[in-house]
Symmetry: C2
Subunit: 350 residues, 2 copies
Amino acid sequence: MARKVSRRGGNIVTIHDVARHVGVSPMTVSRVINGEKNVREETRAKVLASVEALNYSPNLAARSLATQDSARIGLLYSNPSVAFLSEFLVGILSESSQSGAQLLIESCEGPEGATAALEKMKANGCDGVILSPPLSDSSRVAKVLRDMDLPFVGVAMARPDPQVCCVTIDDFKAAFSMTKRLIELGHQRIGFIKGHPNAYASQTRFEGFEAAMQKAGITVDPALVAQGYFTYRSGFDAAERMLNCKDRPTAIFASNDDMAAGAVATVHRMGLDVPDHVTIVGFDDTAMASSVWPELTTVRQPIADMAALSVRLMNDQIRAKRLGKPFEPVREIRDFALIERQSSAPVGTA
Amino acid sequence: MARKVSRRGGNIVTIHDVARHVGVSPMTVSRVINGEKNVREETRAKVLASVEALNYSPNLAARSLATQDSARIGLLYSNPSVAFLSEFLVGILSESSQSGAQLLIESCEGPEGATAALEKMKANGCDGVILSPPLSDSSRVAKVLRDMDLPFVGVAMARPDPQVCCVTIDDFKAAFSMTKRLIELGHQRIGFIKGHPNAYASQTRFEGFEAAMQKAGITVDPALVAQGYFTYRSGFDAAERMLNCKDRPTAIFASNDDMAAGAVATVHRMGLDVPDHVTIVGFDDTAMASSVWPELTTVRQPIADMAALSVRLMNDQIRAKRLGKPFEPVREIRDFALIERQSSAPVGTA
DNA sequence: CTGAAAGCGCTTACAG
DNA sequence: CTGAAAGCGCTTACAG
């Protein structure tokens, strides 16, 4: 490893070392590393070989200083599930450290508290804001942001707004698919636990459920639809009510994993088994889903990836604004996935 | 806000703007910001006022480029609890983005798989490695690291090794305190669920439990000590065995939150209540503890803080090594805290 | 106690 | 297709 001694005695392979090794200018090495086209194929190959040989990898701090990419990004959240939030944060943090963005993190209690938090961010030189659900769906928050002339990106939005840049999955389709799968497993009496009323995703997921039921010609029994609040406890209570029906459901679809885990606990408490007596499925595939037993069948929403992508979109938007270029709001729809674990089974397994 | 237009059209307040505003050199501003002593009090005050007025905040990328602090830090983990890991990551990521460190993250299956992962890191120019438990306690991993001449920091180590730089809590004392608290609540028949045998913390926590019991003059019934594996399922099973004893425990102390949550599920399944019939307490205070119902009384281990501190220690160590200065291994013991939630109560509440 | 110079590693903008 | 120059915002090392 050819390493040079830096001003302070460290050993770091730089772009200059690679350049010298190959016999080109640092500029050419930079071009190869950044995948630019205007490099002769032969030169590119030599540079790449050298990068490999010297074990070069770029200094992110230097890059972001040079590119001026170092935006100051605000992240505003309002207590979603802890499991959701931490996965969200991991995505945000890792991408922003990659791109050299600085982070300003604030929480607030619902859309009403958002204004104060946003003003604080703005005062701290914030260039743009990333919104986690349910804030991302709040038109009130969106208005405040527009008035402040701050660009923003919404993550996991459930209500389409062509004006807003966002990263989501198709909640309707995801809920539809999961419901369809339950029906394929022979379930007919399927209970549904809704999410918090302040989140649009709650409504959209319920609509997906309804649509799949209707398509299969199954009537949704109102007694099997319960209001939840995305908490374990609310799932626990909702499931209890449903399971005390005379004609109890053979499957319960909860709008997130926390509630599904609560529903599993209720089933167990009643001396029944999951999935033998009741199938339980969740939504999100957070840490909760694979931490409980039986592990939850759920809809995987790639939260960390979505969060990371939102940082990239935010960077693009900030850069465009700085350059005075127009920025067309992007609506990125990521794929969801049905993850089948042990909490679901064909009907009548017991 | 006095903002200058940068090369690419952005508006950023820099150290120069502050300097001009105050009428001093950028150097002086830098000194004030970094809290150096050699600045006249009057000058310092003026600079600080200006920093406030212009809303200046330093560009981290520029700083880390200039200080050469940008170490490349490897993070090696071997599947601990997902909840534990995500809190750990949040701490690591936020501190490393603060300090401008680059991260190389690898996982492995136990100490045996560590060598390959570490070689990969080393090949990628890694300057030092942070170890999460149970890897942090592995003398085998420590030896590999020493042979590679890579500095490392262990997080949440349970076995004191004066040679190794680490950040921990006092697991013994923490387990002792929690047990003492249970005894104060009147519990005598207390069950204990051990953690995974490959983690030293499991042993240490058990010793703390034993010591507190002994000090209170209570004999530990071997039937009330079960082997767990830090998973929900293992807590579930262990609790089931204990609760089927003729003389069942009135309280169960699980060595982590996942197992405690599993134990709660078992109690419920048997038609009993938490905490009315059985008190259940956990350890760590991960997201799991406040996600289930009833929420868990537990020992708070400040995982994110500890992880963040480990990054700082790693940076110090790498800098010392680069400068050829000796670095005395530091052993940082953080405070734990007893968090009382709804899963515990005085004995005989029902 | 304060400042002018040089440099951190990379990229943009311009020339050829 | 390639390179020389200048600059990103900050700090170290040296003078005074």
